[in-house]
Symmetry: C2
Subunit: 107 residues, 2 copies
């Protein structure tokens, strides 16, 4: 039984958003996304996978299917399979998200 303290897993990189794998099973991914100010994960689409974003700290702009909203800590949203989605830290402070994706992509 692995217990993870999410804030001990934070890693930031000057070059780009850092994705830290937490759990990786046959059924799902669970990752930490760590964004320095100005960093983003560009919009992209997964044909078959749903993704859930949960903000742990800071604020981000989440884009899903042409919509865009600002999320702060303890806010959650869903990017359904087939929807274009991305996340950007538009603020002056770091932001961290917990991200779940299922099923696991087959590519």
């Amino acid at each position: 039984m692995d217990v993870i303290r999410v804030f001990e897993k934070q890693q930031f990189a000057a070059e780009k958003m850092k994705k830290v794998g937490l759990f990786d099973t046959q059924n799902l991914f669970c990752d930490l996304y760590c964004l320095e100010p100005g960093q983003e994960q560009k919009s992209h689409t997964h044909a078959h996978e749903d993704k859930v974003y949960f903000v742990l700290e800071g604020k981000v702009r989440v884009r899903i299917g042409g919509d865009e909203k600002e999320l702060s800590a303890n806010m959650l949203t869903l990017a359904p399979a087939g929807s274009e989605h991305g996340v950007a830290n538009h603020t002056n402070t770091r932001s961290t998200l917990l991200v779940f994706m299922a099923p696991k992509p087959q590519h």
Copy 2:
């Protein structure tokens, strides 16, 4: 694009642990588990589904596959498919967890 503030979704019930559905797709469940002091979700097993527990507030004892650990806010653990698992609030204050399960059970 639905944005959920998790602490606005909390619901507690005197009779038993309250499970609040947040997202329910073809691929996953995302729920809030709200436990009054002394409440629990008894140990059970899903043959094919992985479950991730993330503690939002309070403390709980999580049991997975015969192991048991105390988790507090911002701690995360995985109950893999086929492992017996359960969660109990053994404290004097409320506890709340964010719970993900994938794939979606077929029963």
